[in-house]
Symmetry: C2
Subunit: 237 residues, 2 copies
DNA sequence: GTCCGAATTTGACCCAGATCAAGTTGAAGT
DNA sequence: ACTTCAACTTGATCTGGGTCAAATTCGGAC
C-alpha cells in the first residue's frame, strides 16, 4: 500500500471540518507535512484495539466500522463516514486504541501523525479549542448511546434509529440503510435474527423495509411509539 | 442554602486535581473568583438533565449519583466521589446536561461558573491542555463502559466490578461496597433481584458478600472467570 | 441469465434476566 | 428492646431476546 500525497481538493474537504477550519494556514501545513493518504479495499483492518495510536485518521471516501472484541465476542461501536476523523481521544492521550477499525467499502484515509497533532495542539489555540469541542461532542454522543442502550428495548432502539434517519416533517418518509443489517443489528445491540423480528414488529407502526429501503408510512404513529428525545437522539448538540 | 466561601484547604484539594494543578495562580484565582460552595443533605437533586449548564461542579466531600431517565425508566450512569469534577463536557460546549445528579450522602460541592471556565480555558494553555486530557479520559471511560455493557453478561460485569475494587495481588482480598446494592445493580445494568442472584452465582468462584463487605477468597479463580482486560477495566488510561 | 456463496428471514426452542409477590434483614428513631 | 420502613433476598413465573437450524433472498462473478 504505497503512501500518496494528499490531493488539493481533499485537503480542502478536510480543512472544512470544524476541527480544522479555524486554524492558521501555518498550523494546517505543519499538520499535513507528515501526512499521507492511502486507499484501502473493503474489509481491511486499519486498526487493532490495544495498538499504540500513531495516527489520527481522517476518512475522505468510503466507510469504516469501529468495533470491539472481548472473549470471542464482537460488537459494532460505530460507523464512520466522510468527512470525519476517528480515534481522536487515543491520539490526544497517546494511549492505546480502545476500538478496532476496518473498512466496509473501498475507502480513502488520511493519516496524520499523532505526534504532529499533539504538537500543533500545543501551539495553535484555535486548534486546541476545536479539539476540545470535538472531544466534548464525542463524549456526549457516547453518553447518549449509553442511555439508549440502558433505557430502551431493542425494538425501541430500532424505532428511534429509523426516525433519526428519516427526513422528519410530513407524513411519508423514506431512506436507505447505510450499512448491512447484521452490522446495524450489532450496533443496536441485538442479533441479526432479532433485528428481522424487530422490523416485523414495527410493521404494526407503519414501517416497511424492502432490502435497504426503509419507508415510514406514518411518522406520527412511529414517533408516538419511539418517544425520541433530544437528550438521547439529537446527535448535533 | 446559603453560598459560602471556599476554604483554603478545600482550595488546595481542588488545585491538586490534574485539571487544575498546572495552571497559573492568576488563572486559578480567576476561576474561583465567582465560585461558591454549598453543603447539601443526602438525596438532593443538584442537576436535572436538560437544564442549561451554568456551573462546573467539583465534589469535595460526600458522593453524588449521575443518572438518566427516559419514559419513566431510570438508570445510574456513574457515582462521583471526592475530589473530582463532573459535567465538564456540558460546560465546555455550553450545552444542556445529559444527566441528572443527586447527592447520595451529605455532600459539599464547589460550583465554578461555566462562563469563567470557558474564559480561562481560552487564556490559559495549560488549563486548556488539562481539560483536553480530562475530556479524552472521560470519553475513553465511557467507551470502556459501552464495551462492558455490550460484550458481557451481567454476572461477568459484576465479577469484573469486584475485581476492580479488590486490592489485587495475593490470595484473599476484601473491600466495602461504596454504594447501595440497588444503585450498583442499576449501574451494572441489571435489577436488584438479579444482582442478588449474580452474587450467589459468584459464590461458586469464592466470592462472599455480607452486607457491604465483599470478600474474594480466590482471586485467581474469579479472574479466570471474569477475564478482565485493560481495554475495558483499567480506568486509569 | 445462471450459479454460488453470503446475507437475511423464519421457525422452534432456550436462557438470561425482568417482573411480581412474599418474606427477611437491617438500620434509625423512639 | 421495640417499631418501622426501606433495602435486600428468595421463589415463582414470564418474556425479551439469543441460539440453532433450515429455508429463502440477494448480489456478484461468470
Amino acid at each position: 500500500m504505497p503512501r500518496a500525497v494528499v490531493k488539493p481538493t481533499e485537503e480542502a474537504d478536510i480543512r472544512a471540518l470544524s476541527l480544522f477550519n479555524g486554524m492558521t494556514e501555518e498550523s494546517f501545513q505543519a499538520l499535513f507535512r507528515g501526512a499521507y493518504v492511502q486507499n484501502f479495499p473493503p474489509m481491511i483492518d486499519l486498526i487493532t484495539e490495544g495498538d499504540p495510536s500513531d495516527f489520527l485518521h481522517v476518512i475522505t471516501h468510503g466507510s469504516v466500522e469501529l468495533f470491539a472484541e472481548w472473549n470471542g465476542r464482537e460488537t459494532t461501536m460505530a460507523t464512520v463516514r466522510p468527512v470525519s476523523t476517528f480515534i481522536l481521544a487515543a491520539t490526544i492521550r497517546d494511549a492505546p486504541y480502545l476500538m478496532s477499525a476496518r473498512t466496509l467499502e473501498k475507502s480513502r484515509i488520511v493519516l496524520l501523525p499523532s505526534i504532529d497533532v499533539r504538537e500543533v495542539f500545543a501551539t495553535d489555540p484555535v486548534f486546541a479549542r476545536a479539539i476540545v469541542d470535538e472531544l466534548a461532542m464525542c463524549y456526549r454522543a457516547v453518553i447518549k448511546n449509553t442511555k439508549n442502550l440502558k433505557l430502551r428495548t431493542s425494538v425501541e432502539r430500532l424505532a428511534n434509529f429509523i426516525l433519526r434517519n428519516v427526513s422528519n416533517g410530513d407524513g411519508l418518509a423514506t431512506f436507505e440503510l447505510s450499512m448491512e443489517k447484521r452490522r446495524l443489528a450489532s450496533f443496536l445491540g441485538m442479533t441479526p435474527e432479532n433485528l428481522s423480528r424487530a422490523i416485523k414488529t414495527l410493521q404494526g407502526y407503519g414501517v416497511k423495509v424492502e432490502g435497504a429501503q426503509v419507508t415510514v408510512h406514518d411518522v406520527e404513529d412511529l414517533t408516538a411509539f419511539a418517544k425520541p428525545e433530544a437528550l438521547i437522539d439529537d446527535y448535533s448538540t
